[in-house]
Structures are given as structure tokens and as C-alpha cells.
């Protein structure tokens, strides 16, 4: 299989090399940004990773960084690094749409904390990336502005909902990008696009400025081409934010600290339910790569065992009560009164209805109805209440598992990238894409997808590493080991 021109991760170097070059004056931020903008202009017509490219702003920012560097200033660990931002994070003065008609053209008067922290560290926003509308989906086909294509095979999906951000990194449009993960929306597209994708511990990274889908599940994280770049992004973005009451009251976790430590003596557990036929529909080539990853870690000195998380099989149904319930409330504010689309009606209530009917796509409507139903009088205990019980049970089972293991392993996605249109008409088939990733959102634990080879179709496969709450450091430690093994294998193969 020949690699298409659209796939070129780190086309102009990874974030670390760019920041080094820009800080040392080897390259200018302006040239780095111009390279990426050119590549976007050439190839994004095919990939459609971006809803908007902020070329002019990006060049202005790059010039300002170059001036500061020329003046001898230290502009930060991401000096001149282009970053693509998922279009559900607020950026002052730049349209933020959630890939929905209901927000088309809305320009927030403020910027999300994560974006502010990245740009304060020298990063440069090059555009806002496509997503499944309001982050609801696993293929980025539910976008009001058309689907994103997988850079490795344009007939296939990039995964979702952060498909635009995953594709942007795989396509070399930016060395790093931001996604949000409510049920797997970073890890699954990372797996399908062959890049690193991290969902930090809930509360480790501020959500301020992220347009909420399921508030108790949403977490922002990076897409990068290397584990080290993800660690840098995490450290820049993380740490307490007084504007987010659910952000942990502690400094950013030092996830770079153990990247070179290896895995000798670590205890690694494979989640039984996700490595066989307990949860149906996980492809054999995916499980084979998982086993290969475990073997590689064993070779590095880790002990490998299996552990059962029995309630994980109920994760999917529990998630499809909790997330839509919260979404039904979070998305109520899109009512045509203050911003976004307004469709006139004879009175306020009819205007609300017309605006929402015209502004939301079918998947968003489906989830609002599902969530409204789950919270309704007479049903709440049976649906929302029961789902919260499952959530508690899953947390207990993971807590027990971490008494015996430092990290757990599972697939990130049950399959490699599937063809555009394949599952678009079958919501249940689409929902099953998140079966391996959802339990971490319900429990709040950190997890990430690291590329580890390809499937029978030659498309990328990621392995998911899970760690206890605030155990992001050991998760990165293991990820770095898998990356070393994967790189060594690639070089040997090449």
C-alpha cells in the first residue's frame, strides 16, 4: 500500500524540534507557520480537517514571536509551534461553531484557558478543526459542514468526534492539535489516524471555554506525533484553573518526568473484557496489536497479567444515559435568543423550537431527546439513576484493579478506520466504536492511545493505556516505551 500525499505526520518536524529551532533562531516562526499554511492550502481541500484557517492571525502571531525572540526573550516551550484547535473551544474573535449550523458565525468574546496557556507558551493557532456536531459522533461525519477524511485513506473516516484535529496532525497541517474527549473522542480518532492522543485525568486540564457536551465526562487533551510532545502540551495546559470549579487544585502533573524511565518492574494488566469475545465486535488484528504491545512491555521488564472489569460491558449503555442527560441541559441555551441561529416564530416558544429544529442536526436531536427522556419524572431513577450506579460500580472495579496493576491495557478502537458512510445510518453500530474508551470517561481515570502498528488493511492501530486517577505520569512512562518499540520496529521494517 502506498502512503497518500495527504498523510505526512510532522511534515515540518515535531513540536519539540520546531520549538528548538525557533528558539535558537535556526528557523523563524513565520517560516514554520508559512510551511504549514501552504500544506493546508494544498491538501485540506481533500482532507477537510479545518472549519476555518486563521492564516492572517497566525502569520501576525508568528512575526510577533520572531520579534520577541530577536529581542532575546524566552517565549516558552512551544515557541512557534502551530496548533490546530477543535472547533468546540472558544477563541476570542474567531468563529467557534461546534460544526453546527446553530452556532455558525458566532465569535466568542473570550478564549478557552487551554488555548490561552498554549499561546502564552509560544504556540500559534492556525485554525479551528472539524468535529461531529457538538462532539457527538465517532466519525466526524455528523458535521454540518461536511465530513473530514482520513489522511491515510481519503475514503475512510478519521474517527471522531475530534476527527479534524486527529487528521490535521496526521496530515502534517500542524504538529500538534487539541481535542476533547467525552467518550473516546480523542483516543479513537488518534488510533484511526496513527497519532498519539491523550485524555488526561478528569480535572487535570481546565474545561473553561470548552463548549460542554457531557460536563462530568468532557476532558481536553492533545494530539501529537510523539509522546514527548503530548507531555509538553499536557504540562503547559494543565494545573489548576480558578475558572473551572472541577479542575484539580494542584499544579500540572510532571508527565515528562519519566519518559526515559522504561517499564522495568511495572505491573501491566490487560482488560479481559476488551481482549477477547466478552465485548463483541473487537477485530482480531486489533487484539493482536494489543497482545504485541503487552509482549513488548514484558520484554522491557514489566510483568503482564489480565484483569477483569466486569461492569465495563455496561459502560456503553450507562454512558448513553449520562452523556445525553447532561447534553440535553447543556444544549438548552441554544435557543435563538442571545446568539447563533434564530428562526422566527409567532411567539418565544415557537421561535425557540424553530431555531433548534433548524439549527441542530439529527444526531444532536437524537441525543437531546434521549437525555430529556432519561431525566424525566418517573424515568429518572430507572435511567439516569441506574446509570450513575453503574458508574460507581465501574469506578470501584477499576480501583480494585489498580491495587494489583500500575497501568491497564486495552484497544483504543475496536477496528481500524472504516469507510465513510459505512455506519452513518446505524447509530448503534457507530456508538459501539467507543466501547473501549467510554469506561475511562465514566471513571475519570486518564487514558491515551499510542500508535502501535497497523491492521490487516494497512491502517493504523492504537493501543490504549489506562492509569489510576492522577496517575498520568506512569501512563506517559508506559506510552514512551511503546513508542520506542514501535519506532524500532518501523525502522527495522523500513
Amino acid at each position: 500500500m502506498t502512503t497518500p500525499e495527504t498523510a505526512s505526520p510532522a511534515a515540518f518536524g515535531d513540536a519539540q524540534s520546531i520549538a528548538n529551532d525557533v528558539s535558537s533562531g535556526t528557523r523563524t516562526a513565520a517560516s514554520v507557520v508559512a510551511n504549514h499554511l501552504d500544506r493546508i492550502a494544498t491538501h485540506d481541500g481533500e482532507v477537510h480537517a479545518f472549519n476555518v484557517v486563521t492564516a492572517e492571525r497566525a502569520m501576525d502571531a508568528a512575526e510577533s514571536i520572531d520579534q520577541r525572540i530577536a529581542a532575546g526573550e524566552d517565549v516558552g516551550p512551544l515557541a512557534g509551534v502551530p496548533v490546530a484547535v477543535k472547533d468546540n473551544m472558544c477563541t476570542r474573535g474567531v468563529a467557534t461553531t461546534c460544526s453546527s449550523k446553530i452556532l455558525e458565525g458566532w465569535e466568542p468574546p473570550y478564549t478557552a484557558t487551554v488555548v490561552e496557556r498554549l499561546t502564552n507558551a509560544g504556540a500559534i493557532v492556525v485554525g479551528k478543526t472539524n468535529l461531529d456536531e457538538f462532539a457527538m459522533g465517532s466519525s466526524t461525519e455528523n458535521s454540518a459542514f461536511g465530513p473530514t477524511h482520513n489522511p491515510w485513506d481519503l475514503d475512510k473516516v478519521p474517527g471522531g468526534s475530534s476527527g479534524g484535529s486527529a487528521a490535521a496532525v496526521a496530515a502534517g497541517f500542524a504538529p500538534v492539535s487539541l481535542g476533547s474527549d467525552t467518550g473516546g473522542s480523542i483516543r479513537q480518532p488518534a488510533s484511526l489516524c496513527g497519532v498519539v492522543g491523550v485524555k488526561p485525568t478528569y480535572g487535570a486540564v481546565s474545561r473553561y471555554g470548552l463548549i460542554a457536551f457531557g460536563s462530568s465526562l468532557d476532558q481536553i487533551g492533545p494530539f501529537t506525533t510523539t509522546v514527548a510532545d503530548s507531555a509538553t502540551m499536557f504540562e503547559v495546559m494543565g494545573g489548576h484553573d480558578p475558572l473551572d470549579s472541577t479542575s484539580a487544585n494542584q499544579p500540572a502533573l510532571a508527565v515528562s518526568s519519566k519518559l526515559d524511565a522504561g517499564v522495568d518492574g511495572l505491573r501491566v494488566g490487560i482488560i479481559t473484557e476488551m481482549a477477547g469475545d466478552v465485548i463483541e465486535g473487537i477485530d482480531a488484528d486489533v487484539i493482536a496489536r494489543l497482545r504485541a504491545a503487552a509482549t513488548a512491555l514484558e520484554a522491557g521488564g514489566a510483568t503482564v497479567g489480565e484483569v477483569s472489569i466486569p461492569s465495563s460491558v455496561y459502560g456503553l449503555p450507562a454512558y448513553y444515559m449520562v452523556a445525553p442527560a447532561e447534553a440535553s441541559s447543556n444544549l438548552a441555551r441554544f435557543d435563538g435568543v442571545r446568539y447563533g441561529l434564530r428562526v422566527d416564530g409567532a411567539n418565544t416558544a415557537l421561535m425557540n423550537t424553530a431555531s433548534r429544529t433548524g439549527g441542530f442536526g439529527p444526531e444532536v436531536k437524537r441525543r437531546i431527546m434521549l437525555g430529556t427522556y432519561a431525566l424525566s419524572a418517573g424515568y429518572r431513577d430507572a435511567f439516569y439513576g441506574k446509570a450513575q450506579q453503574i458508574r460507581t460500580k465501574i469506578i470501584e472495579e477499576f480501583t480494585a484493579a489498580y491495587e494489583h496493576f500500575d497501568v491497564l491495557l486495552s484497544p483504543a478502537s475496536p477496528s481500524t478506520a472504516f469507510a465513510l458512510g459505512d455506519k452513518a445510518a446505524d447509530p448503534m453500530a457507530m456508538y459501539l466504536n467507543d466501547v473501549c474508551t467510554i469506561p475511562s470517561n465514566l471513571s475519570g481515570q486518564p487514558s491515551m492511545s499510542v500508535p502501535f502498528g497497523v491492521g490487516d488493511d494497512g491502517m493504523p492501530i492504537g493501543v490504549q493505556i489506562l492509569a489510576p486517577l492522577m496517575g498520568d505520569v506512569v501512563m506517559f512512562q508506559v506510552a514512551a516505551e511503546l513508542e520506542r518499540v514501535a519506532n524500532a520496529t518501523n525502522e527495522a521494517g523500513a
Binding site: 473553561y208 460542554a212 475558572l243 472541577t246 440535553s328 438548552a332 441554544f334 442571545r338 431525566l375
Partner: protein, 487 residues
């Protein structure tokens, strides 16, 4: 401190027929007067230009998040403790419904775990009204409907001011323990007194910083059933509260009398027409789909925090009334007005300076409604002593008092300047003897009681003589006669 109190005219409750009993529960919203709003740093200020105290959070912009105002939580807990509530770990919850002046289309409130539960309040008349809960929530914005008759249904367009959106509220929900319109008014007045004593709100009904909704039903006297209730809104004063409840009760009774029955609904008090009007029907009670607010963490007060709150509570109106009643020898309800006006400490200081308590109370109630001016407790006590000694008649006293309020100065100087002198007292012997024989109990207390009792009774006899002589008698002479009869 001087409070304007809208007590309303003394309405003698339009007779609810004896066969019926009124059942009322009140929901009182108190706006907490914190510097900033409940979930953001915007100013909590009444009367600013529309939409000037707003930010992404209180406008409910996508992506903005709430951060709870610790001062508002403290105020809520203080008010809860002052209402004898249990203050518990609590959880904010979302109450979901669509309304244009509610930016998020949900109200962040509390549901099954409110901050304050199971309290009570005693009215000045000694009636205990139980309080179910007092929970924290945010206020909405304010709509102005332009065109038509000013209501949303006929408006051409509506203007929304979000300055009030996110202002902290405490909603205090009473049990349906209130049995008369007067009791309802007394409950709200007492609650307002407590709020003012705690200084957690300015509690102005006319500005909407204190809002009262009344759940009204009636039942046959002697029954303990709870019949269909109507929630009456748009009540802007205490007198409206009394009239709205009385109107609504009579409406229910006449429905039952004609074989009909009220339907559960929200009704609006029409002040001009003096009646309630049907609002939205509550037959299909709105489903608010409450669930815990995921953007906020639970509120868990520490033991130290609760102890500090209890220690910070000032003397509340009930305790102030008891103290004043004790010192002045009057009943606790009679001390009510002075406490409401914030003059109880002044009264206590005047009594401590040697003035007769009952006279002090009478003067403050009747002659000092306009404020204290230049008056001090010491000067005031001097005046009251002259009055009780018979050196001034009550009319003269009133004149001197008015002058003292305006310019200060001692009673003696002002009386002298005005040429007031004590009156002839030749017939007092017989009057005192008559009084003694008609009040044997008081006489016994005067003769055999402790010093305080004797003093109190001396005041009593002096007062009676003063009353009979319309203030013409000389108090010193009365005292001499009383003492001569004791031995």
C-alpha cells in the same frame, strides 16, 4: 439603624366563615446582597444600566463555567442558622426549563440536598411556623415587554436585562402552617427583621429584593386534609400579601360552596383590581428534570465554619423583643415595633439610665417614628424622669421631646425655656388610696416584691395617676404618698 416597615393597614381579616380554615405556605425569595453574583465576578447591583453587569458566565455563553461565590454560601448558611435550620452538606442542581430571561435555559438551584432544612420561626405573637428548607439559587434576568398590554402574549417585542441574572437568592419555603392572613404578614415581617439583623439583604419588597409567593388553600375547620392550592405571585407589599391571601381564600370557599372546586394553578395578584387572576395552569406540572450540577462540586461546610457562623449571629429580633419586654415590663409583642425599627438598644440604654420602661416604649412608638435626631439615651431618660415625677404633663413632654430630637439639650433647660411647670396636686391622696384598693395585687408587689418589682409597680401606680390626671400630677408627690402608705 432605622428601617422603613410596610406593615400595611391593620386589615381585620374579611371574615372567613367559621366553618373554614385557611392553610397557607409561603415561598420567600431573598436576594443576598453580596458584592458579586453567585457564579461570576460581576457586580451584584440594582439599578445599573441594562446589561452592564454581565460576563460570559452570567450570560450563559457557550463554554463559560460557574464558580460559586463563597460569601453567598456563608450568607445562606447564616440565614439558615438564624432560622433554626440544620445546615448540611449540599449539592447544586440544575432545574431545566426554557425561559428567555434565563440565559442557560436552566436555573442553577438546589434540589434534594439543600443547604438548610427543618427550621422554624416564631412570630412576635408566639406562633411557630415551621420552615421546610432554605436553598441557594440564582436569580433570572428581567424582561420588559413592549407593545400590547405589557404582557408577553401581546407584546410586539421584549427587552431583556441580564444584570439580575446570576444574583444569589435564598428561597425560604415554609410548611403550610399559616392559618390567617395576619399570621402570614407577621411571618414575612419577622423573616425580614431577621434578614436585616443579619445584614444579608436589603430585603425591599418594592424593589424585588424580597419576593413572596403564597400557596393558599382552605379546608373545613377541624379537618387536617390539604386541599388543592393555588400559588399567588406578584405580591409587592405586606398589605398586598394579606389582601391577596384573603381574596384567594374567599374565592376557594365560594367555589366549594357552589359545588365547584379550585384547580391547581399559578395566579397573579392584581393590586388595582384587588383580585387574583389565573396565570399558567399547573395541572400539567412542569417537569424540571433536576440533576446534580456537574460543573460545581458539593458544598461541605467544616465544623469550624459552622461554629464561626453560629458565633457570628447577632441578637435576633425575637431575642431583642424578649430583652426589651423584660426591661420595660411590657409584653414581648408590644416590644415588636421598636425592634422592627431597630431602636431596641436605644430603649434599653434609656431604661438603664433610669427612665420608666413603659413610658420609654410609648414615646418611641408614638413620638419618635421620624427618627431619633439629636436624642441620646441619657437626655431621653432625663425627660422621662421629669414626666414620671410629675414635673411635666404628657403633652408638655411631647413638646419638649420634639425639641430635643431637633436640637439636643436637656429636658430641664428646654422645659424652663418654654415656661413649663408642674401642676397642683392637692387631691392626690384620695386618688392614690382608691387606686391601691382597686389593684391589690400590684400593691402587694410594690410592698413585698424585690427592688425591681417595687420600682416597676411604682411606675405602674404613677402611670395610672398620670393617666387619670392627664399628666397634671407631680410624680414626686405621688411617690411620697405611695411610700407613706406602705409602712
Amino acid at each position: 439603624m432605622y428601617y422603613t416597615v410596610d406593615r400595611g393597614p391593620e386589615v381585620h381579616e374579611p371574615s372567613i366563615p367559621d366553618a373554614w380554615e385557611l392553610v397557607v405556605g409561603l415561598e420567600v425569595h431573598v436576594e443576598l446582597s453580596t458584592k458579586t453574583k453567585l457564579f461570576c465576578g460581576c457586580a451584584n447591583h440594582f439599578g445599573s444600566e441594562p446589561n452592564t453587569n454581565v460576563c460570559p458566565t452570567c450570560l450563559g455563553l457557550p463554554g463559560a463555567l460557574p464558580v460559586i461565590n463563597a460569601a453567598a454560601v456563608t450568607s445562606a448558611m447564616r440565614l439558615g442558622r438564624a432560622l433554626n435550620c440544620e445546615v448540611k452538606p449540599s449539592v447544586m442542581a440544575r432545574k431545566n426549563y426554557f425561559y428567555p430571561d434565563m440565559p442557560k435555559d436552566f436555573q442553577t438551584s438546589q434540589y434534594d440536598q439543600p443547604t438548610n432544612e427543618n427550621g422554624w420561626l416564631d412570630t412576635p405573637a408566639g406562633v411557630r411556623i415551621n420552615i421546610e428548607r432554605a436553598h441557594i439559587e440564582e436569580d433570572t434576568g428581567k424582561s420588559t415587554h413592549v407593545g400590547g398590554d405589557g404582557r408577553i402574549s401581546s407584546a410586539q417585542y421584549s427587552l431583556i436585562d441580564y444584570n439580575r441574572a446570576g444574583v444569589p437568592l435564598l428561597e425560604i419555603v415554609s410548611c403550610p402552617d399559616i392559618r390567617t392572613a395576619e399570621e402570614a404578614k407577621a411571618y414575612v415581617a419577622e423573616l425580614r427583621g431577621i434578614v436585616l439583623a443579619l445584614d444579608v439583604s436589603d430585603a425591599k419588597m418594592e424593589e424585588g429584593s424580597m419576593r413572596v409567593d403564597a400557596n393558599v388553600s382552605v379546608r373545613p375547620r377541624g379537618s387536617d386534609e390539604l386541599r388543592t392550592r393555588c400559588e399567588v405571585k406578584n405580591i409587592n407589599s405586606l398589605s398586598s400579601l394579606g389582601r391577596a391571601i384573603a381574596y384567594e381564600a374567599k374565592r376557594h370557599i365560594s367555589l366549594y360552596d357552589t359545588g365547584d372546586r379550585p384547580i391547581q394553578e399559578t395566579r397573579h395578584w392584581d393590586e388595582e383590581a384587588g383580585r387574583t387572576r389565573s396565570g399558567r395552569s399547573k395541572e400539567n406540572e412542569e417537569d424540571y428534570r433536576y440533576f446534580p450540577e456537574p460543573d460545581l462540586t458539593p458544598l461541605v461546610p467544616s465544623v469550624e465554619e459552622l461554629e464561626a457562623i453560629d458565633a457570628s449571629l447577632p441578637e435576633l429580633p425575637g431575642a431583642q423583643r424578649s430583652a426589651l419586654a423584660e426591661a420595660a415590663g411590657i409584653s414581648a409583642p408590644d416590644a415588636g415595633l421598636i425592634v422592627e425599627r431597630g431602636h431596641s438598644q436605644f430603649a434599653l440604654d434609656t431604661i438603664a439610665a433610669g427612665a420608666d420602661g413603659a413610658r420609654v416604649v410609648v414615646h418611641i412608638n408614638n413620638n419618635l417614628a421620624g427618627g431619633l435626631g439629636e436624642l441620646t439615651p441619657e437626655l431621653f431618660a432625663g425627660l422621662v424622669q421629669m414626666e414620671t415625677a410629675g414635673d411635666l404633663t404628657s403633652t408638655q413632654t411631647k413638646t419638649v421631646l420634639a425639641q430635643m430630637v431637633e436640637s439636643g439639650g436637656t429636658a430641664a433647660d428646654i422645659a424652663a425655656a418654654k415656661g413649663f411647670e408642674a401642676m397642683d396636686t392637692s387631691e392626690l391622696d384620695g386618688m392614690v388610696d382608691d387606686l391601691i384598693s382597686s389593684h391589690p395585687d400590684e400593691w402587694t408587689r410594690f410592698c413585698e416584691g424585690d427592688e425591681g418589682d417595687a420600682k416597676k409597680m411604682a411606675g405602674f401606680f404613677t402611670g395610672q395617676i398620670m393617666k387619670a390626671t392627664k399628666g397634671q400630677a407631680d410624680g414626686k408627690v405621688i411617690a411620697q404618698i405611695l411610700n407613706s402608705r406602705r409602712s
